[in-house]
Amino acid sequence: MEWISDWLKQIILLVLIATFFDLILPNHSMDRYVKLVMGLLIIMAILSPIFQLLKNDSNLSHLAVALKKGWDGKEMASLPEIREKTETLKRSQDTMIQQQTEKSMEQIMIQHVQTKFGVEVVRAKVKTDWNQQKAPEIMQIEMITRMKLNNKNAFSKMKPIEPVHVEIKESTTPSKVRENKTLEKQIAEYIMQTWQVMPSKVHVQVEQPV
């Protein structure tokens, strides 16, 4: 309501000024000129709210159009598309999580096997999948290891392998194979125990040192 009183005050004061000027003027032939100017000023004062309204209106309409455009583009294909997007996003997130877990599992396995058995892990592959409780579950573990050439220390830790290791130096092929087999078994058993997976899901292969 403040603007209305402002507006009215302006008009009233302008009319008062106009009458004063009328009184001041010395002769009536000049009257018309001053009256014209004062009349224009008073018209401006009366119309000023309309001017402001028009200016604001145009701005607002521009804004409204812009908003409508912006919303229309997004809302047109809204629900199905958004759902689709969420689905794809979820899927990609799941796969990312799966990959991440697989990778970290592989790394942990590689570390443990390398430190414990003193072999070089050539390749470790863990395959996981989502079970019914929406939790990742290990489906398969593949590991290819290679004997290190200088791994006396590592083997000395393992009691059952030590005698086998001595045999390697004598380089008899069947015993080597047997030794590899036992090592494979040990590694597989270790993995089965630490990760608690079924024995059918673990494949360990020990290669000869190059």
Binding site: K9, L13, I24, M30, V37
Partner: protein
């Protein structure tokens, strides 16, 4: 009590002019003119007071300063032109008096041009292109 002074000067000068007109009409005219100027200057201060009040009103009404100045100038031109025209008319030169009045009207029109252009521009802006 300025009115008594002004009226007194006016009456005295009128008598003087009546007496002087018989002997020297030129001096009588000069006397009348100067008296007119003196009265005009004496009243200029009063006009200043009125204008000050108007200025105050205008600032309160948020009237554009340009407009107000222009209107004041128009009033001033009107006063000066009126005074000159009256003096010349007193001297019996009605044609010159009318020329002075014409010049005053023209100058007033010229002064009003900025206001009219501003208002016309605003109105044109409002109209849809």
């Amino acid at each position: 009590m300025e009115i008594i002074q002004v009226v007194g000067i006016g009456i005295i000068v009128t008598f003087l002019v009546l007496v002087l007109k018989e002997q020297k009409p030129v001096f009588a005219f000069l006397l009348a003119t100067f008296t007119g100027i003196i009265i005009f200057i004496a009243l200029a201060g009063k006009i200043a007071e009125v204008i000050r009040v108007l200025e105050h009103l205008a600032t309160q009404a948020h009237v554009n300063n340009l407009f107000f100045e222009t209107i004041l100038k128009i009033v001033g031109i009107a006063y000066i032109a009126e005074f000159g025209a009256q003096v010349t008319r007193d001297a019996g030169q009605g044609s010159i008096a009318s020329k002075i009045e014409m010049a005053g009207k023209l100058l007033i029109m010229v002064m009003a041009i900025p206001i009219i252009t501003v208002i016309i521009e605003t109105i044109v802006q409002i109209l849809p292109a």
